[in-house]
């Protein structure tokens, strides 16, 4: 397994994320349907598909270019609050790796933190508000822990994905403060947040992708 991730690898990872979401499209839409409008899987799958298509077309891009292209494609294909926020995640990551040929684990930790911060700048949600932040924030913590503990990249990305998965699961116990679900108040309790779930799916795909030597 590689211990840095270059532009081509990022393109392959974006494709892997797209595939993972496409495979779980109906599940994600179903999650969104009880408390949202039920379109999350369909629209994220379409947006990531477009991101994969556009980044693949770049040929041999820098990590920044690959991630920025993906973010912009997601924002403009997906639209809505979630489109701009998923896009912001990629664009935040892009900015943190600007001008560099490949990303190390410590870059990955900085990139995910930058992605989170961009999501929060736009979306204003904090942990506990039952959004994608509840999957992403623990993943960022896990990445930073991995850096401190000098974990190998393979182990690190698994821990990152696992943290996101637990974070997504934890949203079941939360009352929504953002998105359509917020108008339901207490009625949103018991349901796992769709955006947190898809964030966790994407991070798992990243871990799997790296293990599979993209």
């Amino acid at each position: 397994m590689t211990d840095t991730i270059d532009g081509r690898q990022w393109v392959a990872l974006i494709r892997a994320m797209a595939e993972a979401v496409v495979a779980r499209r109906d599940y994600l839409s179903a999650l969104d349907s009880t408390v949202g409008d039920g379109d999350h899987g369909v629209s994220l799958a379409k947006a990531l598909g477009e991101a994969a298509r556009q980044t693949t077309a770049l040929g041999d891009p820098s990590p920044e270019s690959a991630l920025h292209t993906a973010g912009s494609a997601i924002q403009n294909t997906m639209g809505g609050a979630s489109g701009i926020l998923f896009g912001a995640f990629f664009m935040g990551m892009a900015r943190a790796i600007a001008g560099r040929p490949s990303a190390t684990l410590s870059d990955l930790a900085a990139m995910s933190a930058a992605g989170l911060s961009e999501v929060q700048r736009r979306g204003k949600a904090s942990r506990g508000d039952k959004t994608m932040v509840d999957a992403l924030a623990p993943a960022v913590v896990a990445a930073q822990t991995a850096v401190v503990e000098s974990q190998p990249l393979a182990e690190a990305v698994e821990n990152i994905a696992e943290a996101a998965r637990l974070g997504a699961e934890s949203t079941k116990a939360m009352v929504a403060k953002f998105g359509r679900a917020k108008f339901l108040g207490e009625r949103s309790l018991g349901y796992q947040d769709a955006g947190a779930t898809s964030m966790s799916i994407m991070l798992s795909a990243l871990a799997e992708g790296l293990k599979g030597e993209v």
Binding site: S33, D37, G80, F183, R187
Partner: protein
């Protein structure tokens, strides 16, 4: 009961482009469809006047593609069904106005619409477009309590903003004055909506929400967002009696005020029902000494085939009356003037 699984479409992912193509073909004298998928006024407004742009999720037709035209919007940036368009597309919309006097991006307050407009203005500034501004509009009293108005969402009462701002910008070259006018209308408008039935999301084919046979939801959003709560289904008169007093108390509207009343059909309500509802509203307003200047009953912002309506009141002075009465010519909204 009632949501309609059968829809006359071709493929879910082609709804937006096919709708835009058909719409633009039907009204070539009023609008044109750009290569970027924007709906633009066929005859641009006079040189030196402020351009009006709105981006919004589709699926609410006649809003907003039907509201592009003389005395209304210059450009509409239609997003996917119920999904605000991304920032690049809004920037394209700003450019498409070709207005030298500035562009006002109008935002019906929903998270997606707001965040994308903010990002679009950042992008526009980065591209050197400096005479663009945005105004955030809301009217739904059910979505946040009095005192926290800016947290409220935009619903059908924004009809008044679009109509009056459209008339104002037709002759105004002052971006700040346009924004102030929009805020003035907003701050004199209050709305509350209800639904009898849910509807089917045309892309997912799924129900947008569930509503039992003997209940209604009061405080409904324009995308099937839940409202303040469920209530037992009551008569038309009792429905108005439940919805009008909180609207009046919120502004508050007072004896002597003049108002325009909107009953917006959210989809499959009939004009028959709207008229019966309106009758009770006039009786209650007469009792409170509030004077009705004009009324509009019809479908303006819909949620697919959802059966329900929004009740909106706008307090008007002489300026707003004149703007309301000014001519307008959109494909799906005309005012004879």
């Amino acid at each position: 009961m009632s949501p309609r699984a059968k829809k006359l479409i071709n493929r879910p992912d082609m709804i937006l482009p096919e709708m835009l193509e058909g719409f633009a073909a039907a009204y070539p004298d009023i609008v044109r469809l750009t290569d970027e998928g924007l709906i633009v006024r066929r005859t641009p407004k006079a040189e030196g006047k402020v351009g009006l742009v709105i981006g919004n999720g589709s699926g609410h037709e006649p809003a907003m593609i039907g509201w592009v035209g003389r005395g209304l919007f210059d450009v509409n940036v239609p997003g996917e069904i119920f999904t605000a368009p991304g920032p690049n597309r809004i920037v394209q919309g700003i450019k498409a106005t070709q207005s030298s006097a500035g562009v006002l991006v109008c935002v019906s307050h929903h998270a997606g619409d707001l965040i994308n407009a903010e990002a679009a203005l950042e992008l526009a500034r980065a591209e050197g477009i400096c005479n663009a501004d945005m105004v955030v509009l809301y009217d739904d009293i059910s979505s946040a309590p009095k005192g926290r108005e800016p947290e409220r969402r935009g619903t059908a009462g924004l009809f008044f903003v679009w109509k009056m701002l459209g008339a104002f910008a037709e002759t105004s070259g002052n971006l700040g004055a346009c924004k102030a006018l929009a805020e003035k209308v907003r701050d004199n408008t209050r709305s509350l909506s209800m639904a009898l039935t849910s509807c089917i999301h045309p892309i997912t084919g799924q129900l947008m929400f569930e509503l039992p046979e003997d209940e209604m939801e009061i405080g409904m959003g324009v995308h099937g967002e839940a409202g303040a709560g469920r209530a037992r289904l009551v008569s038309a008169d009792d429905t108005i009696q439940r919805m009008l007093p909180p609207i009046l108390a919120d502004l508050p509207f007072r004896a002597g005020d003049e108002v325009i009343v909107l009953l917006n059909n959210s989809g499959s309500l009939t004009f028959m029902e709207l008229s019966i509802l309106y009758r009770r509203a006039t009786q209650l307003l007469a009792e409170t000494g509030i004077k009705i200047y004009r009324s509009w009953l019809g479908a303006y912002a819909t949620t697919q085939e959802m059966a329900g309506f929004g009740l909106s009141l706008c307090r008007v002075d002489e300026q707003l009356k004149a703007l309301y009465d000014a001519p307008a010519n959109g494909a799906w909204f005309k005012s004879v003037g």
